[in-house]
Symmetry: C4
Subunit: 239 residues, 4 copies
């Protein structure tokens, strides 16, 4: 029952995030009159706002991962029960795909499309690796859960611009974007390499976080609950 | 007397919000040289800044609804007295219309115009439904009243871009925008369908919030006053 | 001695604010290739960032008015000693003019110019009145001094767009902008009407704040120091 | 061992900051279709987001200087041990250069280039002096370490626009940008004058901070640890 509500929160948050990414891309491309920098600025602003908001809103319920590689790393860290991981991941993939469909419905597009935007090559994959490594570095390294919304959103917002791939950094969003032949789209054939790069990046970021933050935390005199930046993900322990 | 001041705050806040939405649209369209994405970026930025500010400033006085469907849902939730609802709603509609007039005066336009911008079709109405559902989901789901300003403003800012309707999500603003033949306008004939979609959306968002947040709150050990994210709307109880 | 440091802080903050407003206008106009909406977006972003920062940084020293009509209203409210008002106002005017000169030096322009940008007419003056009224409404109405930076900056940022005058709302900045024949300039002949409108606006905003916020504050059970949103302006009382 | 982790944090943070500055410049220039104002807006947004995030994330570990002149001034202020200064500075220079290489790799550019962008003349050097003076003024003057991220990022974001040089304000970033023949580049021959101006600016800013903030702090009744805005830089003393 508790798990059901948490999974619902993951699915709902994932769908709103995905609808924001894809829908704002459609709107931006329609209005930007060919200036892709303006379109990406709008796309970035909408994504950052929605991501920060959804983490603040749903973090206390489900942890607000919205991202299979985040859930996977947290399972390795014993911050998410392994038995709950499959439900989280399914909700994330299903939610992101539902968000793509919702965005298409709002813009009167076919509900499911096949993306044609080419995103391939080692530079793109290196971009995804670095973007996802940084995401996990921030997720595992921040100190206060109330800072998670703006810190994680800031990383993604910056990475939209400083990586060549515009920083998908999320397998569920990547799959959903393959269903949309719009500004945010990605060819289905490019999805698996992106997800592989994201997995390698997530593991790299987790290792880096362990290297940089471990000792610092172990010296802290704060109680374990407040020391753990991700303690919010298991709300039932707080009751 | 107390009610009078709260209603004045609702009316004043609604008028400043409406003047911002409409006035910044005029300025943006005049300057943007035909690039509607740049115009909407400016319109979004001004709206988000004003909305967050007004919620922080007037929330402690009146609750800072500025929106009839928000007041309606809060009446259902016993967070606004039913007998006070009419005064709130009248102040919101009157305030938003006054804001439109003020914006026109500042830009040397006829004080009242008849909008000609077509906003019709099921995609637009679905957009309003989703935008308003999300708004109520955030209003009812956030945990700390000090986070309400940025969370609500972030939702609206994102929804300006990821919905096809640019997210009016407010019957009073919708009516006021029908009085302005500018960037933010909407044909009078399109107003009622928008409001209907907003009503359905508001109810859907409230139901969703009950589903996702109810148990979580009931398990909390915090006192009721701090648990209720909208407790600020009844300042007289705090005195 | 204490007053000297506070006046130095007012002068320094005013000069940095003015340099930001004028300098970012020069940069934006040079780069924007004729798209004034993009230029004003950049001008707004820089102004908002500098204003929020300077209020947070210098508020604890001098109150961070940077604006003669703010100091005047606070003198009426007994939050600034009348005998200190002249030093504050002189520092604000001198600081803003120094900031204009610094901006010109950084962009290799003549250190002092005579602006030629026409800003006249009743719509412009109404814009200044509303912008300044709102500024005082926010200055007097916010509850926690730590919120002043973002709330005041948000008002100014929004008013850059929803008023026809781009919201000078400050006599010292207005005078300084008359010394700059750039994006932010204003003809010397238009300065006095702007300042008159700002004075009327400031008084209107102060009255409005008294109407909306007075009772609310008098019912509060909080101690006087924390109730007063501008208590930061007299740091010596805190020692 | 402790020093090693702090130095690693400085190097990693410097590299991510540098990759953001340079990478987002490449992306922005590619997409902006010749509108340099739009490109600089995107470059500013990415820089501000990454800088704020990295200060919040790594400040508790190393102090998050990422800047040799900041470390130098803090050594003068006895807030960084002189014997640790060389390691900090080497990590900052090496990190920033590694970030440039990473950005080039992500955008499939030659890993090291020779910049050709001319940045010379007294106006540019005055800009660097003022930008760096302001940076140190903010670093030394802010009161709460949790405000450092947004305050420092706001200064840099504003200074990107109100200075003619776009505010490098950092010798390590300056050197790294000389390795990139892109939007953010600087000719190698222009590097040393920039660094000299930054050094003079840093000292000026430190003197100014001592003038404006000293007495204010000495009157405070707060304990030394919370009074010192940079106490975060020596985490081992907190354990």
């Amino acid at each position: 029952m508790i798990l059901a509500r948490r999974v619902a929160a993951e699915g709902l948050g994932s769908s709103l995030l995905s609808a924001t990414v894809i829908g704002s891309g459609v709107m931006a491309e329609r209005l930007a009159a060919g200036n892709d920098a303006v379109a990406l600025l709008a796309n970035t602003g909408a994504t950052v706002a929605a991501l920060a908001l959804l983490i603040a809103l749903l973090g206390p319920v489900s942890g607000a991962h919205f991202n299979p590689v985040v859930s996977l790393v947290l399972a390795f860290k014993n911050k998410l029960a392994w038995r709950e991981l499959p439900a989280y991941v399914v909700a994330q993939f299903a939610g992101c795909c539902a968000g793509a469909i919702a965005a298409h419905a709002m813009f009167a597009l076919p509900l499911i499309e096949q993306a044609t935007k080419v995103r391939t090559g080692s530079a793109q994959l290196l971009s995804e690796l670095i973007a996802t490594a940084g995401l996990l570095f921030v997720v595992l390294g921040h100190r206060r859960s109330r800072d998670a919304p703006w810190m994680i959103a800031s990383w993604i917002g910056a990475a939209y611009w400083f990586t060549a791939s515009t920083s998908f950094a999320n397998p569920a969003i990547t799959l959903a974007r393959s269903l949309s032949d719009t500004f945010a789209g990605i060819r289905p054939v490019d999805v698996l390499p992106f997800i592989a790069a994201q997995l390698v990046g997530a593991m790299s970021g987790a290792l880096l976080a362990q290297l940089v933050f471990r000792h610092s935390h172990s010296q802290s005199t704060a109680p374990a609950a407040s020391r753990n930046p991700l303690s919010a993900i298991r709300p039932k322990e707080r009751a």
